[in-house]
């Protein structure tokens, strides 16, 4: 066979692989969407047509008309954005120090951050629940957000440190020679220059916060305070089988914001994440 023919054949093979990959990864999500636009009659018709005969958006309206659902969404947004913002306040100065200073135990600090990231939130939630219960911080967004911040801060620091390593120091050094304090240079030069890195880390951590389940699941029991991740889990428990289509619609609503925001910024986020994971 000629080389060109062989390359063609390999191209076809690649597309076959793509087809299988898309089927496996997109299939379940398409099925979810398909269920979410069915009438309750068609849920029980066992057909594998992705597009139902009488498609409807009724289920989305039903989900959103549930008095708690919009509250779940709002709580999820609040905790996700608040957690990521809080984490940024802790991470930015720490990332600056790790990127710009050379000090003893620097390596150890980075490893410590990594170790913290590896610990399941479940482990720390065991005693934290007890402390928070004692000071009345269970069933409160303040208490939950504190843990969101703590869980996000190490990853935020790693990503930002990786980004700052790539930002040239000459501008801030020039500013400091001109009499700017180090803190002034940090606020007025380093932070604006690291805006792409800050955005990537912020968005990824906000998405992870939106998906965060275990912390609110343990800390919050009042329905009016629950974020969406726990909200749809409770939906699953309360909706009967006959309203699976509404559960599907609610799940789609919970997935779409995370996926859309991520896909818009995916190149930046993935780049920032990989530089942390592989380079260290």
């Amino acid at each position: 066979m000629t080389t060109i023919g062989r390359t063609r054949l390999a191209d076809i093979g690649t597309y076959v692989a793509f087809g299988v990959i898309c089927l496996f990864f997109a299939g379940p999500l398409l099925w979810l969407v398909s269920l979410s636009i069915r009438t309750s009659a068609e849920i029980y018709v066992s057909n594998i047509n992705l597009w139902p005969k009488n498609s409807t958006l009724e289920n989305y309206a039903s989900a959103l008309n549930n008095p708690l659902f919009p509250i779940y969404l709002w709580n999820g947004l609040k905790l996700a954005v608040g957690g990521a913002f809080g984490a940024m306040l802790f991470a930015a100065p720490a990332a600056y120090a790790l990127s710009r200073f050379r000090f003893r135990n620097q390596q150890l600090t980075m490893i410590g951050l990594l170790a913290v990231q590896m610990i399941s939130p479940l482990v720390i939630m065991v005693p934290l629940y007890r402390y928070m219960d004692r000071v009345g911080l269970t069933d409160s967004h303040v208490g939950a957000m504190m843990i969101y911040i703590a869980v996000a801060a190490p990853l935020f620091t790693w990503m930002l440190k990786g980004f700052l390593d790539g930002v040239p120091q000459s501008l801030e050094e020039a500013a400091m020679i001109d009499g700017c304090t180090r803190f002034g240079a940090f606020m007025r030069i380093v932070l604006p220059l690291s805006l792409p890195g800050l955005t990537s880390a912020f968005v990824l951590n906000a998405i992870l916060g939106w998906s965060q389940f275990i912390i609110p699941f343990i800390l919050i029991s009042k329905p009016g305070l629950l974020p969406i991740a726990v909200g749809i889990f409770n939906f699953q428990g309360t909706y009967s089988q006959t309203s699976t289509q509404i559960l599907a619609a609610a799940s789609v609503i919970s997935i779409v914001p995370a996926v859309v925001v991520f896909l818009v910024l995916q190149r930046f986020i993935v780049g920032a994440l990989m530089s942390g994971a592989v380079k260290g």
Binding site: F25, P28, L98, V123, A153, Q236, G280
Partner: protein
Amino acid sequence: MSQDAAVGAASRTGSRHKKAWHLAERPLVWLAPLTLLLFVTYVYPAIDVIRYSFTDATLLNPEYAYTTDSFKAVIRSPDLPGILWVTFAFVVASVILQLVLGLLVAMALHRGVRRRLPGVSVVRIIILSAWIVPGVAAGIVWQLMFNEASYGFLNAVLRGAGLSPVAWLSDPNIALWSAVIANVWRGTAFSMLLLYAGLVVIPSSLYEAASVDGATALKQFWYITLPQLRPILLINTVLISIFTLNTFDLILPLTGGGPGRATEVLALYTYNTVFRNFDLSNGAVLAVVLLLISIVFTLIYVRLLPREL
């Protein structure tokens, strides 16, 4: 006021300025907020978990005494071997599949990008979407795929092909593998991203030299791709092992740990012990086990990372 005192005061404000300036030169000052936060929320609680594991504390009663009974109770618990086996099987199967699938996907994407095949970015976006789906939602999605009622996708396909349906979630011998499939669906994208980053940096001259020497594609994969990817494969293995070990939000909506205890992994068992049975001391013992496993994996990961962080 004497002149000396005035001069003294002036020089004191001067030194305070100097001190503030010096303070910003100390890395510790920049690191202090984060350190404090992580100490309060991670280090102290982690130590406290270890302390609680030596008590008879419950979640409901603030009083407790020190004892080693909870360790004995956990070890003697008839549930433990089953839980550990389920956890082990879940983690090992998930990790192997995520590695293999992640590598295949990464190689297909890498080839697609190199050949500039149209549609590569669509494939990439689809895989990343599965990864970014919140864990609970992924559990619900796969619950609907595996469901044995008529709206379950997989059984509908099987019925359509004239095959008998499978009890994906209600057969204890199958449920664990269903959970593995759901977890692989969600986790493969991360594995793929790492391996893709590894593939990109393999010098193409290696492959060119090999094909000049007449090496087949399979040989090139075996003697070039795999050895070159070795460090990243190892790092990847450690990371996805930890992620899988800590998986909790996916399993809860999928099976709730059932049927029976067929899919109750260690993290879920720990949760149930503490927050369902209010048994803080036994739960703390299990949390210590989780903590130790995380620390061991972290140490391995650190050894694998390049020297310069």
